[in-house]
Subunit: 717 residues, 2 copies
């Protein structure tokens, strides 16, 4: 080991049959841990080479023999048939038509059938049980109203674990289709505990059991047609936790009786992006408690065997909720988050758990999550890695994690030496950042930014999956920008915003579209919430709204607080109402036009609204003073280094904060962090070209010339 070269805190995926490569890359990248992955094994040459060993377990999977012997222990879900139009008094509904038949099998046990429902969707009426019959995969409804549309909601078994199904269909796996067990079934639960006990006994070399992940996959419903292979997918929804037993337990605990329609909701289900029903909120809390209790039992088994339990925060993570009320009670030793983006680092870092580890992308797989080649012909994994690192690095400069690592098939790296070099560089930059953090946190502006949305702290930083899966939502772009800014960020619910949380905030952000969980939907009708945000602004707060902030339904003002913003979004209700004409004024900060959206319908509704950007006569960036504060409207916000910089300048400028602690660079491409304990500046060039920057630091001005993408650590002691 070279002197001054930092090592460790790095998890390498090993691969049996590639022992030499495994140990060489462990050396190259300074790994201290070797892990297996989904689809790979470690050999004794690896496990006995002096590294700590993570072993991956997907606890609910790989038990096909048991699942086949006890099919009633499998997981389930509600599905709705596609609607069928009645041409006469009788209609036949083929239940699974349009669904992927390898994923689902009808659960027509008596217990399940009691939960099935048939609906006249035209009349919005449930059909009485005596008017329909089930046989051979079809429901026959009698007494129909001609030309009405009918659907059936039913339970079915999920007979192919979804991550395995994805890997088969994407990466052309040909092994057996793995089934999945529901820990709520007593037989399954006893089996899983016994199995884990045995597993721990059988795997003495394992230091850390890497749970990948817990019990319930995020929702992923396949169709039977390649033109719509995925019918519905939501990374953060709870639909795959359901079963008659779960419904019975929920009723026993809460007194609330849920029906199929609480899940199906006219076929629309309940995406995390939408405002949830009270039933959904209560059910989620119930599942979180269940998952935490069961997870604790497993973690206790692992601990009893002298091993540690790390949990992977993806795949079958549903109900775990690292920012939820029950997570800490489980007793995990570590949380591992796969990351493309800065917000995912912040999400991982804030969990109440001893060790925070990032698993980088690209995963060592032929094809990436977006479907493009990575470690295969045409792939450029080193470019991908560096692109993600630029996002991650600026977040790590704000708040560090403990470890980093990779996953997948190590042998795939062999044709890609540039990738090996890039990971070496990334690992080095990570370790240098971690070392700085270990001496004390970076400076943060005295600026408390509260982001308000439906889920509040439960869904801090994330929306519902990775950036590229949610990038049509404005808030993910704002989160990504905030992840690297020198400000305090918290995520609060509307109930908290209405009842005191704004007393601890300088800036309130609400970003989303009417009716989505991020804007908040009709919660904004609450007079207390409206009044409290109005007070907050009038007493000096900065309100930032993006897209359709505070938007409600019902045909009055679209933005409940349009009176503060001085703009509104016309959904038709302004027919015949003229907007205020305006001139675009120069903003007191550099406007990143590319970050803003063309949003037809936005109109100025007050004479004292300042318009700082407009497109084709439609306002895009406005500011209105109200009392001692301000309300800023952004038509959109698309993340980029320049957009991020605009947000920082906007925050500094409109709150009157002193920029010194922000270590603002003259070049918007260069972001900085100031570590007071070491009197050290970290300057990160986000551009792919050399950039010269003058930076105002608490130790005085610094002039730097940074190489493309360079991170420079400058002690100014």
């Amino acid at each position: 080991m070279e002197e001054n070269k930092l090592r460790g805190d790095f998890t390498l995926p090993g691969e049996a049959g590639c022992e030499e490569l495994t140990l060489r890359l462990a050396q190259t990248w300074g790994a201290d841990v070797i892990r297996d992955s989904d689809g790979t094994k470690l050999s004794p040459e690896i496990t006995e080479a002096g590294y700590r060993i993570y072993s991956t377990i997907c606890i609910i999977r790989e038990h096909n023999a048991f699942a086949e012997a006890h099919p009633e222990c499998q997981q389930q879900t509600f599905l709705s048939s596609d609607p069928v139009t009645a041409a006469g008094p009788e209609v036949r509904i083929p239940l699974l038509r349009g669904y992927f038949d390898e994923q689902f099998a009808l659960n027509d046990t008596a217990e399940a059938l009691a939960c099935w429902e048939v609906w006249d969707r035209t009349a919005d009426a449930r059909i009485p049980r005596e008017s329909w019959q089930y046989a051979d995969g079809e429901i026959t409804v009698s007494g129909c109203t001609p030309w009405h549309r009918y659907t059936a909601s039913f339970l079915c078994w999920r007979v192919w674990e979804e991550i395995n199904m994805y890997n088969h269909t994407t990466n052309h796996w040909t092994s057996a289709h793995l089934r999945q067990l529901d820990p709520r079934h007593p037989l399954a639960w006893q089996y899983l505990q016994d199995w884990l006990e045995r597993w721990c006994e059988d795997n003495p070399q394992t230091d850390v059991v890497r749970l990948t992940s817990l019990f319930y996959n995020f929702v992923w419903i396949f169709g039977d047609d390649a033109r719509r292979r995925t019918r519905f997918t939501d990374w953060a929804s709870y639909d795959f936790t359901v079963s008659p037993a779960a419904l019975a337990a929920f009723e026993a605990e809460t007194g609330m009786r849920l029906t199929a329609e609480d899940f199906i909701r006219k076929g629309f289900l309940q995406a995390t992006h939408r405002v949830p029903t009270d039933a959904k909120r209560a059910y989620m809390d119930f599942i979180q408690r269940f998952v935490a209790e069961k997870a604790k039992v497993l973690v206790d088994i692992i601990h009893r065997h002298g091993k540690q339990a790390y949990v992977f925060y993806d795949d079958s993570w549903v109900g775990m909720e690292p920012c939820g009320k029950y997570f800490a009670s489980v007793g995990f030793d570590g949380l591992i988050k796969c990351v493309f983006s800065g917000f995912e680092c912040r999400l991982c870092a804030m969990a109440d758990v001893p060790v925070h580890e990032l698993r980088f992308h690209p995963y060592l797989f032929p094809v990436g999550l977006g479907g493009l080649p990575t470690f295969s012909e045409g792939g450029h994994p080193e470019r991908d890695a560096m692109e993600y690192w630029l996002h991650v690095r600026r977040a790590l400069a704000r708040q560090c994690v403990d470890r980093i690592g990779l996953g997948g098939y190590l042998h795939l790296t062999e044709g890609f030496p540039a990738f090996t070099q890039t990971i070496t560089r990334i690992a080095d930059e990570f370790r240098r950042l971690k070392q700085l953090h270990s001496h004390g946190a970076p400076a943060v502006l005295p600026l408390r930014v509260a982001v308000v949305h439906t889920w509040g702290r439960l869904r801090s930083w994330t929306l519902s999956g990775h950036f590229h899966e949610t990038d049509s939502h404005i808030l993910i772009h704002l989160n990504e920008a905030l992840a690297g800014l020198p400000v305090e960020v918290s995520f609060i619910s509307f109930a908290e915003a209405a009842s005191g949380a704004l007393r601890k905030a300088d800036v309130l952000i609400n970003a989303g579209m009417q009716g989505d969980a991020w804007s908040g939907g009709d919660v904004w009708r609450d007079p207390q919430l409206q009044a409290e945000v109005t007070r907050f602004v009038h007493e000096g707060g900065l309100l930032i709204g993006a897209g359709e902030p505070t938007a409600v339904s019902g045909g009055g003002e679209t933005l409940a607080l349009s009176g503060l913003f001085g703009v509104d979004v016309d959904k038709g209700q302004y027919a015949c109402h003229m907007p205020w004409a305006f001139e675009v004024e120069e903003a007191p900060f550099a406007v990143c036009r590319d970050a803003l959206a063309a949003r037809p319908g936005v109109r100025v509704t007050a004479p004292d609204t300042h318009v700082w950007a407009a497109d084709g006569g439609v306002p895009q960036l406005t500011c209105r003073e109200a009392g001692r504060g301000r309300a800023v409207y952004l038509s959109g916000f698309r993340w980029s280094p320049a957009a991020s910089r605009m947000l920082l300048e906007l925050l500094l400028c409109l709150t009157g904060r002193n920029g010194a602690a922000a270590s603002l660079s003259s070049a918007p491409e260069v972001e900085t962090a100031w570590f007071p304990a070491d009197r050290t500046l970290v300057a990160m060039n986000n551009a792919e070209r050399e950039i010269a920057a003058d930076i105002a630091t608490p130790a005085g001005p610094v002039s730097l010339r940074l190489q493309p993408l360079e991170m420079r650590i400058c002690p100014l002691g």
Copy 2:
């Protein structure tokens, strides 16, 4: 008079002081009538020159002395103050702040004050009367909740007749501001009858009293700031008919007690473009009855004096409703409609009245309605006239009117000889079309097109004003196209559609946006309506939806009949739901891409939807077969000759109708009409260039070469 040269049926605006010009142009244009205009007088040299004479009367105006002596006889309206945010327990609301003080004066009589209301708009609650006080133009509210927003709704007098106000502010008139009387006030009503009686006695030379128009202006609310001079304007709304007496009479007649909020509706009022409340519908009917009764009394006076009564369908026309239930009962002798467009001809032509007359644009005024110069420096009135004529001509080819004419200041034509020539040409083409119609109607395809919207027959052809005032609405473009197509067109209400009207239709069109009066809003939740349209399609009908047809609120499917269309519009509810991938197929007719809109959110929701046009992956034109019929979706429809042609081809192609009677031209720029009685083809070149066209007529194929904009009449007997 030359032989073979048609003359007459032309109304010329005369002008005292320009007698020579008046009589010369009367000769040039073949006028048989001379009229005065708002702002002009006729002299004896004109009235005694042997022409019939129209005299313009605005019955409620030009009575300033009476209005000043009896201010309680003036017309009124409800207004809402702008909201005021309470910083403490008391808030002061300046009522008329932001309104044009020359238009409004508070009506704070005891009778009016009883109708005033104060609202906490944040809590959506009316403030009890004892909690507010009025003095000196302000309301003071006590017991406020801090940071809530308060508004007051109040009655005020409209002290400047709006058309006069428009002419002053647009055309720089400096004469006295004209006031307007409310015929509902008994004093005013008696005065107006007496005045008309006297007027008829004093004007023996007048053959036709041209009422311009009746009692109540369309709504036009001015603001006090040039940046928003018009706050609200709706050509077809009834708000300017209100008064405490009207509310009392309405309650006496209907038992329904309306409040200020029925008119104010959170400050949004009720534009014709929006779905009306039941209260608004009932109130409109009540006003229509009132207007018809009062108008009949005036018409009877006119008739008693041996004169005819023509009514102008614009300005203070509100409540008259030429397609309404009470119009025929008035006994008008003629209806005069000012026209820019084809749909306005059809509207005029369908009224149940002996004489239908069109008043062409441009009006002989320095500035046009759009604010651009016409008869002044930079104006090209001959181009304007020809542009409007191209729209009007094709509609007149389908359904003729009895007369045409002009209005305004004749002296303004003197610098514009090309305009004089153009009007000569237009008058000639009109008379030739009228002659053809007099021998028998043109051929119509056996194709019955029903347009369904909220107002049904009451608002046949028009939406709410001229084309350029409503051109953001899809339906006006479709109406304009239909106005010149050889198909039967009717306008039906949703109640009629749900209860049998579709039995008499081959095609149903629904075009508008969610929540507007044209799409229909939540009326589409009605299961009977949904089922009936579904039946109509399944049994062979063609459903054409444009924009957001059949769209409802509430978070389920946006298009209530998305199941028929096989497309829907994502308003956020499809988050996490994947659409069907599609290939664009070739349509069975020529698609006019420019007519279609980019409408983000449109998605394919059925596997059997044919996509015939798409933009950036978003469907724009689709067709789905359902039963024996089809449902076609258009993302938009922007009128042009090519768009009109696409609509005709679509209708022919998707209903399987034989195109022969359509006399389809090989050149889409050329439209035709076939007059069977004369076995005559009318071919109209809508292009500004020479066009060669082969036309299939019932008399066999014809090949023509038409000059730019030419109308050719081809007898094929």
